[in-house]
Structure formats: structure tokens, C-alpha cells
Amino acid sequence: MRRKILELLEKNSRLATKDIAIMLDMSKEEVEKEIEQMEKEQVICGYNTLINWEKTDKDLVTALIEVKVTPQRGEGFDKIAERIYRFNEVKAVYLMSGGFDLTVIIEGKTMKEVALFVAQKLSTLESVLSTSTHFVLKKYKDHGIPFEEFKKDERMVVSP
């Protein structure tokens, strides 16, 4: 049941618990308890809203930064990853296989702001060996949802 609750919430976190209950043949209380439990266990880590900021008047720049670091004895990459993700500007940090170690996703108001963050905060960390910054020019799809596609029901209103 957990899996099914999660799959429903993953697609639409605003789904009411009473609706989830009906869809999964559970009581509302059971669903609420299960969700609460998963929040406690941090299976559910939060509820975000997917926004296409380009359609608003807010200026926002996103950059993906490839970071090479020196892993620390006894702590591997965890310590340095934490040093990086503590910054508010940092939206995501992933440990990678391949040519570099960490992917760091940063959001700022302007390119300059992002560049300054990388130059002053990120590159200067002791274990960081090098960085390579890529600015995102356009988001086509995020979290499984295409941004520009307007999905209209093309079906005939009534059919056999």
C-alpha cells in the first residue's frame, strides 16, 4: 500500500487523503497514519510545487556545476557534500560516477550572482579541486512534466 500511496502523491501531492483512501480501498485514517509515518521515516522528504519561473516576473538562473573534490579520509564524499549543500543557493547535490565527483545545482538571480558564488564560496573550499559551470538556458521538462505542452483532450465528447 505504501508504494501505491507514494505513486499517487508523487504525481500529485495535493491529492486529498480521503480521495487516496477511496482509490486504494483504505480508510482515511489509515492513509493519514501511513503518510505521517512515512514523513517521520523521511520516506517522504517534502512537498514541492513545480513552477515554470520563466512565466513569472521573477529573475532566476539555474546552473549545473561539475565539481571535482578530494575525498576525506574516513568520511569519503559525505563531509564535503554537506559543506556544499548547506548553502541556501544550492538546490541539489548528487554524487556521480564518471569524470567528476559531484553535481551541484545552483539557483541565483543573475548569472553574475551564480558565478560569484562559485568563485568565492565553492572553489575556495579546501577539498574542491576544480569546478565547471554550465548555465541552464531553458527547461523543457522537469520532474516528469513537460513545461510547454498544453494537453487538451482531443477526444470526441461522446463515443461508443
Binding site: M23, D25, R155, M156, V158, S159, P160
Partner: protein, 387 residues
């Protein structure tokens, strides 16, 4: 043109009951519809992509009349893996333009003038007209809500005469969502076995059963030789517009159907056939995902109708509910018109699927939960006047 120019057989067929509602509903704005008979999902991308790829490759010529051999092989594998029925791809499978063509072909291939075709109602709209156009005589059998709209052996037995040539078995059922489980089919098989009656088993919704797997009557002992299984890609893979179906059955019948098909149609659309191969090879996950989504909506809509206080039999297949409107005291047609004009919700009167559909409406749940919710809200408001 004088209307006498039109063949009397065709003039005698009444226009589809669905057509009327389509005409009204499509003129109105802000209509919330529960009226469609097709899934709301896009065809899974890997299937569409395969279609595009073969178009780019220039695979745009006729295929053999029966359909691409590779596709028939995949169909054969699929039928055996899912329903435990085995057909030789060489001469026992015919790829058609939708399941509808296969229904038409099967009837035309076997019916002589006056042969009777048993049609359990409520059912899909095309069996009766196709029977008439093929020169046969439709004999309807009324299935009942109290039997979960299953066909009972007693009802069947009563309808059989020495002129009976075909029994249509439309399960999982459009419009009721009723299914036939193994023990139900066994009882039907007991009645049919040994008689020269062809079972036309329309299994187009076979992938959409909930909490149990679909059983094909062709898999029961002694039924294989007198059953033609009709299936297709429309409902399982959300491929309605591709127009792809097939028939599998005894080779004599498939040969006869192929004969009509080769002169009337030539072959099913080539692009669709290639897409169909991809669907059968790699579509299982997508089918499962869609089935799960339908199942959630099914529970949601049944619960919704019951909360409104409308009797609603729990459908176990397809993507329709068939709630009773007896509480309103209106006929199905009146109910649907009134609902459409007052609350702008389009549903289909049960009578579009046979006279015995009187007192019911068909509501499709091939819609998003939000859409279903809004429709239920409006129907609930509408029903208040009948308290």
C-alpha cells in the same frame, strides 16, 4: 438523391443513440464529459516512436492481407502467454482495422439469410447492425444487474433455436463493466458444446479487468474449434486512432474472413502494424500502469455514485460504470438530456446499448480524477431535485 436509392437494409437501421448526444454536447461550452469510449492516455511514446521510425524508413507500402507475419507471430505469442490459447500465426490470425472490422468480418463470413445471432444486451453498439447488414437476424438476450450483467446458462438456453448460428460474448462488457469469470464461462460452454454455434468472443477489454485475470472461452475444453477471439490494441495500449485489431480462430473461418478482408480492406494500416509489434513486445509495463490508474478511478467513481445515492453495480472490467437512474423517475434519454442542459455533464443513455439499458446511464472513467470529481459534484447537485 432519392432516399429510395439507399438500400432498404441500411435505411432500416436506426441511427446510433450516441450520435444524438454527441451532436448536442459538442455544440455546448464547458461540458464535462463522461461520455467517451476510449482511454485518455496518449499511446505510450515507445510505440509512437516506432511508428515514426518506420515512416522515416519509408515503410509505407501494403502488407500481406493477413498483416505482417512478425505481427501475427507477436499476437500468437501474446495470446498464448496471457490467455493460454495457441494460434498458428500462418493461418489462424488476421490483423484487422480495429476490433470492429473483425466483428463485421466474422459475421459476414458465417451468416446465411435468416441465421440467428444471439446478442447479450446491454452491449457495444455494432453487433446488431453488423448482423442485419450480413443478412442475419439479431436475437437479443437481456442480462440483468442482479446477475452482475453476466450471461446465465438459463438465459442462453432459452434463446437458442435451430436457427442459432452465432453467440456474441461481449466480455469484459461495454457499457456495464461486467465480466465473465471462469465458472460463468464453463456454464456457457456446457450449453454451447456440441452444437454448431460459433462463439464470437469480443475480448477487446481483456487487459482491463480488476483483481482477476481475464479468461477466454476459447481456452475451455471443447470450445477452441467453435470460437473466434476478437481483440485489438485500442483499449489495452490506448491506440484507438491507430485502428488496429485482430481475430484469432479456426483456420477455415480465418480464411473466409481473410477473403472478405482482402477485397474490402486490403490490409490494416502499415504504420499501425509496426507500432503494434512494438506494443506487444515491450508494452506490458505501460498496460499495467494504465490498468492501475483505471482501477483507482473505478473505485473513486463507484464510491461517488453510491454517495450520491445512486445504485451502482461494481464493474470488474473495461472503464465504464453503469449506475441506475431509477430514483429520478426519468427515462435514460430524458435523464441524459436534462443532465446535459442543466449541469453540462455528458453521459450516455443506457438505451444506446439496447432497450434493456433503460433505467441506466453509462459513465466512462477514462478521465482524470479531477474531471471525475467535478462531474460527480454536478451529478450530485442534479440528483438533489429527485430527493
Amino acid at each position: 438523391m432519392k432516399k429510395e436509392m439507399i438500400a432498404s437494409k441500411v435505411r432500416g437501421i436506426p441511427p446510433s443513440g450516441i450520435r444524438k448526444f454527441f451532436d448536442i454536447a459538442s455544440q455546448m461550452n464547458d461540458v464535462i464529459s463522461l461520455g467517451v469510449g476510449e482511454p485518455d492516455f496518449d499511446t505510450p511514446w515507445h510505440i509512437r516512436e516506432e511508428g515514426i521510425y518506420t515512416l522515416e524508413k519509408g515503410k509505407t507500402v501494403y502488407t500481406s492481407n493477413s498483416g505482417l507475419l512478425e505481427l501475427r507471430q507477436e499476437i500468437s505469442t501474446y495470446l498464448s502467454r496471457r490467455f493460454d490459447i495457441s494460434y498458428n500465426p500462418q493461418d489462424q490470425i488476421l490483423v484487422t482495422v480495429g476490433g470492429s472490422e473483425a466483428i463485421d468480418l466474422a459475421l459476414r463470413a458465417v451468416l446465411n439469410p435468416g441465421d440467428e445471432v444471439l446478442i447479450p444486451e446491454p452491449c457495444f453498439v455494432s453487433y446488431k447492425p453488423c448482423t442485419i447488414l450480413a443478412g442475419g437476424a439479431p436475437v437479443t438476450i437481456t442480462t440483468k444487474a442482479e446477475n452482475d450483467f453476466r450471461l446465465t446458462p438459463e438465459e442462453l438456453e432459452r434463446a437458442i433455436t435451430d436457427k442459432t448460428k452465432v453467440l456474441i460474448l461481449p466480455y469484459p462488457n461495454n457499457p456495464t463493466g461486467g465480466i465473465m469469470e471462469k465458472e460463468d464461462l464453463e456454464k456457457i460452454a456446457d450449453v454451447i458444446r456440441g452444437k454448431d454455434i460459433l462463439v464470437l468472443s469480443d475480448e477487446i477489454y481483456a487487459e482491463l479487468t480488476y483483481g482477476r485475470n481475464h479468461i477466454s472461452i476459447a481456452s475451455l475444453p471443447g470450445m477452441y474449434d467453435t470460437t473466434v477471439v476478437i481483440n485489438g490494441f485500442s483499449k489495452a495500449y490506448s491506440m484507438t486512432g491507430w485502428r488496429m485489431g485482430y481475430a484469432a480462430g479456426p483456420k477455415e473461418l480465418i480464411a473466409a474472413m481473410t477473403k472478405i478482408h482482402q477485397y474490402a480492406i486490403m490490409c490494416a494500416p502499415t504504420t499501425s502494424q509496426y507500432a503494434g509489434i512494438e506494443a506487444l513486445k515491450n508494452g506490458d509495463d505501460a498496460v499495467a500502469e494504465m490498468r492501475e490508474a483505471f482501477d483507482s478511478r473505478r473505485k473513486f467513481i463507484v464510491n461517488g455514485f453510491r454517495n450520491i445515492g445512486m445504485d451502482c453495480f461494481e464493474p470488474l472490467g473495461a472503464f465504464y460504470v453503469f449506475p441506475s437512474i431509477k430514483k429520478s423517475g426519468l427515462t435514460s434519454e430524458e435523464f441524459c438530456s436534462k443532465l446535459l442542459y442543466e449541469e453540462k455533464v455528458a453521459v450516455v443513455p443506457g438505451t444506446a446499448f439496447g432497450d434493456c439499458g433503460e433505467g441506466f446511464i453509462r459513465c466512462s472513467y477514462a478521465y482524470s480524477i479531477d474531471n471525475i470529481k467535478e462531474a460527480l459534484k454536478r451529478i450530485g447537485k442534479f440528483m438533489e431535485q429527485f430527493q
